[in-house]
Symmetry: C2
Subunit: 518 residues, 2 copies
């Protein structure tokens, strides 16, 4: 198939095929209507599984061989072990040893520990990655060195792609901090506890073969079963499934930067003045220092007003857990734990609930949780004058990180991006962002250290903030201030070749990443 | 298609089509290998659901109309409300009012309260039932009055049939004692609490349209979400979803009949002498008086030996809950609560775990829990000399009740049927049972008040019981004793017409029920 390029609904030229398969250009928010049916995995039979439930095989290598590992397959992993993951690299060491080629790696995210896999991208063991790429992996991809085009999806988009059969997983390998021989597994217990396993849910449900790997094998039943053994083909006991001190980042602290503290305070004051913080409201912040500070400001406001939040969405951390345990928040609905307090709380607090990309983010479900959240705090690398935002690439064109739940969270009722006006003297507000990850119509408020811009579409908020003492400005004003300080932005030096595609939550292509000319 | 009859692997003549659709005759335990793929429901999109998560419609009628209720559809319900269900009858009242005809009712079980629906079977609103039929519904069916052939499945077989696309559910109506407007639902809380909603899991996952009906609407999130709102199309608030005092049977008491107590004691002694009751063992009994007594005897043995069970399977009741709370059982893995103690314990005890037919029973999964259970205690209406057993019809040919989890439990390591040697002077052991529901090769031990018969296939148990003081006999001996007392059995007076088919756990046809000539 010859690849043609068409202009999509946000004005980006995107290809009609990726890696030889037809794709659909982004058609606008809520415009694409899927007409197909979900992916239908083969029917299994208990006749082919041990009646005593013992699916243990001796090694991961044996499990991969029994699962039929061969050239061209798609191998999936999850990222709950974050930078302490020991499984993904081990899989491709085995593939290399067995001489298997052209594998598609389909992680729910990658971390610096996975830079190790560059050797296998170079030697052809791995053909390409569909998932986030940070640091050296991102650089490798942006330099055009990957044999096929990368595809980046949000957490919800990854579930959608698997559910809808866009990505057919041949073998899912699910590392678990606790599992029984039947394959019931969780991330709550054991030396490598990472909280939960939600990112592997779709993999367990839809992959042809599912392997659970644990260093903490417990007698049946391993409960809670965040992954259900009834989906699992083989279980493997290894010495170590993750490096505990790298699984969670210990403690993520609130920011000490005066500029970022100011942004956090402005954000919280905006939310209060705009009436977004009401009894029974809900919010989601991230794990960065600014977001944590905003969470703390929210807690102060709730204490002051004598109200509480119905729920907060995780990623969880000690600040959120403190607020839960203080009674300021009724539920934490959590997709991943960012620190040990999060892990502990999820294990011990009945109202600290593990969720999955299916419940929280999958756009091809009958609704999801993300759109019910009152206030969401997100980051961005760049924003343009139409509020379109970028979260994957830097202004020099390099892929920086994955989408995570970012696109999915844009469906919240009030989306706020607290961002510095410039980073390393490079303005964050552009005429045009390097990569569009989210359409501006979904982004409501930009908070910078020099002022707050409200999306003109949100006439209600603009009205409500009339007469406010906060520095409400237009996004043009903010851009002009930044440009006056930093000088005009330089465009990145990009070739025409597409190295990665960015999928929207509905599986359509919202933008591409092009090779950087070095 | 002309219906032909073929002899299946247990020697029964079964049709090759049922209601115009091809079916597969039973091929032997573990012999049929499915080659297809799971049923693939249509892909949904959040674009078509309210972003605030509020799926409430005013009435069940409106929900059914929005779901597109029309002639010939399949409507599913669950039976967690047991004899207190107010939803199933209401659905067909609405269908009647709307003039909709030829509906297939696909309940997970029916109860005496559903005799009300005979009027709709008679007037053509309902064409037929696929699910258990007791009392008057069973009689109606056995008299050949239903317009199409009934199909009876086990709980696991029902999940399998839905998962595999054998039964396509058009509209699932899920009554819940607690739900939010998004459709997250559980059976744990509210005035109609019934414990759990596992029987509706397949319905929620695979039905084209899903309606959740509750009388206890709570703010999002309704947690735990035993049914996930992401599968739900519409929610409805009604005044009353069930009659609490009929949902749970209050308290089911241990038997006081001397014969049944003797059977219970013999069963427990057999298990102890055969070495089946070991530290970490697992068992499943039922809710009948004999089964409850056996559970109590098991508890005595555990106390005496100073051991505990790893898990017991529910249906749960106060005796099982007492044993859990005493520490004699580590986990209850429960499919349905039979009394209020069960409901309370499932809500309050972390180790009282709600399961589903998927985890416990689905034969077309990658294993299930049933085969891991050490000892299972089941009932039967009839057993033949080859240990084949009947659980659905009486010796007069009438359908008595559904299969429940009975077939699924036959995969336990040790299957024990404690049964009286005769009922109302009709011997229970036959040359040939009226309806084969389970093949004899899976049934290990028959315990009667006059002796214990071990299946000759279980040479290990026969060996272990040599020299036992228990009255170990052959099944022939037991039959001869019963016949000597009661006289030989009379055959039921049956026509050739098939009124119902009995599916095996893999979807094949193990037997049929024929019309009774009255």
């Amino acid at each position: 198939m010859a690849t043609e390029f068409v202009k999509n609904a946000v004005g980006r030229l995107v290809p009609t095929t990726i890696n030889g398969e037809l794709v659909i250009p982004f058609q606008g928010v809520g415009k694409y209507q899927p007409t197909g049916r979900k992916y239908a995995p083969p029917i299994a039979s208990c006749a082919n599984f041990p009646s005593d439930g013992n699916k243990l095989v001796a090694t991961l290598k044996e499990a991969l061989q029994k699962a039929g590992l061969k050239d061209g397959m798609t191998i999936s992993t999850h990222h709950h072990f974050r930078n302490g993951d020991l499984i993904s690299n081990a899989i491709f060491d085995i593939a290399k040893e067995l001489g298997v080629k052209n594998l598609r790696w389909f992680p729910s995210a990658s971390f610096p520990c996975h830079e190790y896999l560059i050797r296998y991208l170079e030697d052809g063991t791995i053909s390409h990655i569909e998932g986030s790429m940070n640091g050296q992996l991102g650089k490798f991809c942006t330099q055009g060195k990957m044999k096929k085009t990368a595809v980046l999806r949000s957490h919800g988009g990854r579930y959608q792609a698997v559910q809808d059969g866009e990505v057919k997983i041949d073998i899912a390998v699910i590392g678990a901090s606790s599992a029984d021989a039947f394959g019931n597994a969780n991330g709550l217990n054991g030396p490598s506890a990472s909280g939960l396993l939600g990112f592997a849910l779709a993999d367990s449900q839809y992959a042809d073969k599912v392997i659970v790997v644990t260093d903490n094998l417990v007698p049946f039943p391993c409960y809670p079963w965040q992954i259900q053994g009834n989906y699992v083909d083989y279980t493997v006991k290894v010495d170590k499934v993750g490096i505990p001190e790298k699984i969670v980042s210990g403690t993520t602290e609130v920011t000490k930067s005066p500029d970022r503290l100011l942004i956090a305070e402005l954000t919280a004051r905006f939310c209060e003045e705009a009436g977004l913080i009401q009894d029974g409201f809900s919010f989601q912040a991230g794990a960065g220092g600014t977001a944590l500070s905003i969470g703390n400001f929210f807690a102060d406001i709730m204490r002051k007003k004598g109200i509480k939040a119905k729920f907060a969405r995780g990623g969880s951390n000690k600040y959120l857990v403190d607020a839960l345990e203080e009674g300021l928040i009724e539920f934490i609905l959590d997709g991943q734990t960012f620190d040990l307090d999060g892990v502990r709380s999820m294990r011990d607090n009945a109202n600290h609930v593990w969720t999955s990309p299916f419940t929280s983010y999958n756009y091809h479900g009958k609704g999801n949780f993300a759109s019910m959240v009152d206030v969401v705090i997100l980051g961005a690398t760049e924003v343009d004058l139409n509020f379109n935002a970028n979260v994957v690439s830097h202004s020099d064109g390099y892929l920086l990180h994955g989408i995570g739940g970012w696109q999915n969270c844009l469906f919240s009722k009030n989306v706020i991006l607290p961002i510095p006006l410039f980073r390393d003297r490079i303005p964050v507000i552009k005429d045009e962002v390097t990569t569009i990850c989210g359409p501006g119509e979904l982004i409501d408020i930009i908070v910078t250290e020099r002022g707050v811009a409200i999306n003109p579409l949100r006439t209600d908020l603009i009205e409500r903030m009339k007469g406010s003492g906060l520095p409400i400005k237009t996004i043009q004003q903010l851009k002009e201030e930044a440009d006056a300080i930093c000088g005009p932005s330089q465009k990145p030096n990009l070739a025409d070749d597409v190295v990665a595609a960015i999928k929207w939550v509905d599986g359509t292509v919202i933008d591409v990443v092009r090779r950087v000319i070095e």
